[in-house]
């Protein structure tokens, strides 16, 4: 039983290993995450202390990424911002996966009128431009959440579960009529056992793929909010927006725009490559 279940996954792993772009994406992601987590303590960086005599210093040996308008070390700030962005991406995705899978599983497994009702609600939420919801939710938390970004980003994740619910529902609608589900029911398995032990493992491929693609979407969403001045913590989006605001024809502080943009873009690119690679590996039907 275990061997048979391992079959498709080891196939997928073999396909994924052959995909150089996806592997490169994994390596880049691990490198960036390690740098953000371990970098500041290892290099003894300090993101807070201001040096009035070192304002807007270009990159040098002492300050690899230069310094910002208050003379703070920019490398430290970029790495700290990265922590927020990555944390936001993964926490919000986790929230969206939990809600989306539960909702989609109930709708798809029971089908019928319940499914109709639940899916109309999803349709309604789809019709609301999510930017509205997110901005309004951010306003609700705006004053209470300074310094503790997590609840806000869980709320962001809760805006992102709709597509996941649709995907999971579609999988469940197909899988619930398959022979192995009938067999399980005949030997007396209950609904919960069928959902979690029999159908969910078979629907895991699309769930993993879509979750991987949700992470960059949430990171981008967070950066939009920071850009609009609604962010709650130091993040790449906030750094980029500060960098954009100093773009002018007379003097360019290019490092303030370039470093956070490059790190943000490479993280997002890497995540998208991994997501694409996983899709090709886990879902051979959807292959190009």
């Amino acid at each position: 039983m275990t061997r048979a279940a391992a079959g498709p996954w080891s196939d997928a792993w073999r396909r994924l290993r052959r995909n150089r772009l996806a592997l490169a994406g994994v390596v880049v992601l691990i490198a960036i995450a390690l740098a953000c987590i371990a970098g500041p303590p290892l290099l003894g960086l300090d993101a807070e202390t201001t040096h009035p005599q070192l304002r807007h210093e270009p990159p040098s040996l002492a300050h690899w990424f230069g310094t910002d308008a208050l003379g703070r070390d920019f490398l430290a700030r970029v790495l700290l911002g990265g922590r927020t962005s990555l944390l936001v991406g993964f926490a919000a995705t986790l929230a969206s996966v939990i809600v989306g899978v539960a909702y989609g599983a109930v709708a798809g497994y029971y089908g019928g009128r319940l499914d109709e009702l639940l899916m109309r609600v999803v349709d309604f939420l789809y019709g609301i431009p999510y930017m509205f919801l997110v901005i309004l939710i951010m306003l609700m938390f705006a004053e209470t959440a300074r310094g503790d970004p997590l609840p806000v980003f869980l709320a962001l994740g809760l805006v992102q579960w709709l597509t996941m619910a649709r995907i999971v529902r579609g999988e469940f609608l197909v899988l619930r009529n398959r022979e192995f589900v009938l067999a399980a029911r005949l030997i007396g398995a209950g609904d919960a056992r069928i959902i979690f032990r029999h159908i969910l493992p078979n629907a895991l491929g699309p769930i993993v793929v879509y979750a991987t693609l949700t992470v960059p979407a949430v990171i981008i969403l967070e950066s939009f909010l920071s850009f609009l001045g609604l962010g709650v913590a130091l993040s790449w989006g906030q750094l980029v927006s500060e960098g954009v605001s100093v773009v002018n024809p007379i003097r360019s502080y290019w490092w303030l725009l370039v470093w956070p943009s490059v790190l943000l873009a490479s993280t997002l690119l890497a995540l998208n490559f991994v997501g694409d690679g996983l899709r090709d590996a886990l879902d051979p039907r959807a292959q190009r």
Binding site: G112, E116, F124, I128, M140, G190, L228, V240, L264
Partner: protein, 398 residues
């Protein structure tokens, strides 16, 4: 049967969980109203055909009356609304009326949800002003129709909208209605959105179909690499890069600010690129799939030049996945303009929404939200129609 019971139990459980979540977010009484609204919307697909005709026509009449009241007296507006609704009830297919019976309550529910969220946010429209006494604040609240509770505000707002066709006075801009305030911004945002959509579709189709006709070629890898870049880079990074290159370095286009429609090019391209990238990927896979079909082989076998094979036979198939993406793309482009309008300093609707949200100008926020949601609803209907025309096999969903 235990299955039936289990299903009922799950439904009740899920409903209670949803309700608990809502109550945590907006308070218990509003949560109940919200749940009732969601159930009403969800219940539309359970209604039998005849009931759908009545409900759809009644809702249409109400909407038309409100729209008509914008320019007409009550009498003619009512006559117009009833006449059109009666015709619609006779002539439109049930599926279309069902869509209306879903879409119109959705818009009302959107107003309700937006109201609740705005009232949950700390602060209110009169908080920043130096209000001398509670009596003055009460007078201001009465004048602008902003009661202390969200549900009461919703009632006032809907009554005004339905009976007078008015979006109300702007709270933070003295002496002006929301409609006057937004009217100059609408054409700017529409032009920006439309231009961006056209650029996205044209660029995406061009790259995607070229790539799909020759998979694994240099053109394919080149355009898919570009597409990946377009999907991965946030809008404002692309925008800043374009601004630096085309406006600051080359000086071809104005940097930012507003001085006429030449100022739209950079923001439109910025807005369009991520969607062009998605469309290119969809068009590529659509093209690859359609080129393997039998009718393409037939077209080639009868000696058609490759050009007409592609343009006359393959294009429609390649368009299908793109068309179904157009609804979400239009919604994304319209709301994505919040960021781009801020970046380039363009006085459009998005700026009003953000400004209204930050100032707690409830009427302005609701006005913009309602405008965008209506636009997106109408656009989705059009996309469904186009889809049916491109692929008659597609069965329209309720």
């Amino acid at each position: 049967m235990s299955g039936r019971w289990a299903r009922g139990a799950w439904a009740v459980g899920a409903g209670l969980a949803l309700l608990a979540g809502l109550a945590w977010l907006v308070g218990p009484s509003s949560a109940l109203l919200l749940a009732a609204g969601l159930a009403a919307i969800g219940g539309v697909s359970w209604l039998p055909g005849r009931a759908v005709r009545v409900v759809g026509a009644a809702l249409l009449a109400g909407t038309l009356f409100a729209c008509g009241r914008g320019g007409l007296d009550a009498g003619p507006a009512a006559a117009l609304a009833l006449g059109v609704a009666a015709l619609a009830a006779r002539l439109l297919p049930v599926a279309a009326l069902r869509r209306l019976a879903f879409a119109i309550p959705s818009l009302v529910l959107l107003v309700f949800v937006t109201t609740l969220l705005m009232y949950e946010a700390p602060g209110n429209p009169f908080a920043q002003e130096r209000v001398a006494s509670p009596q003055v604040e009460e007078a201001l609240r009465a004048q602008y129709g902003v009661p202390r509770s969200g549900t009461a505000f919703f009632a006032v707002y809907m009554k005004r909208l339905l009976l007078d066709g008015s979006l109300g006075p702007a709270i933070k801009v003295q002496g002006r209605g929301v409609v006057d305030l937004l009217a100059p911004a609408v054409p700017i945002s529409m032009a920006l959105g439309l231009l961006a959509l056209i650029i996205a579709v044209a660029l995406g189709l061009l790259l995607g179909i070229r790539a799909g006709l020759r998979p694994q070629s240099a053109a394919d890898y080149g355009s898919m690499g570009l597409a990946m870049l377009g999907i991965s880079l946030p809008n404002f990074v692309i925008g800043a890069a374009l601004m630096i290159v085309f406006a600051l370095q080359l000086g071809w286009l104005p940097v930012a600010g507003w001085g006429g429609y030449a100022h739209l090019w950079l923001p439109a391209v910025t807005l369009a690129l991520p969607y062009a990238a998605y469309i290119a990927r969809l068009a590529r896979s659509g093209t690859i799939e359609v080129m393997q079909q039998d009718f393409i082989r037939t077209a080639r076998a009868k000696g058609l030049p490759e050009r007409s094979v592609v343009l006359k036979h393959a294009l429609k198939g390649a368009l299908l996945p793109v068309v179904s993406f157009l609804g979400p793309a239009a919604a994304g482009i319209l709301t994505g303009s919040f960021v781009v309008e801020t970046l380039f300093g363009i006085p459009g609707m998005g700026q009003w929404f953000v400004k209204g949200a930050l100032n707690r100008d409830y009427s302005v926020v609701l006005g913009t939200a309602l405008f965008y949601a209506t636009l997106i609803t109408v656009f989705n209907l059009l996309v469904d129609l186009a889809y049916g025309w491109l692929d008659p096999r597609a069965v329209s969903e309720p």
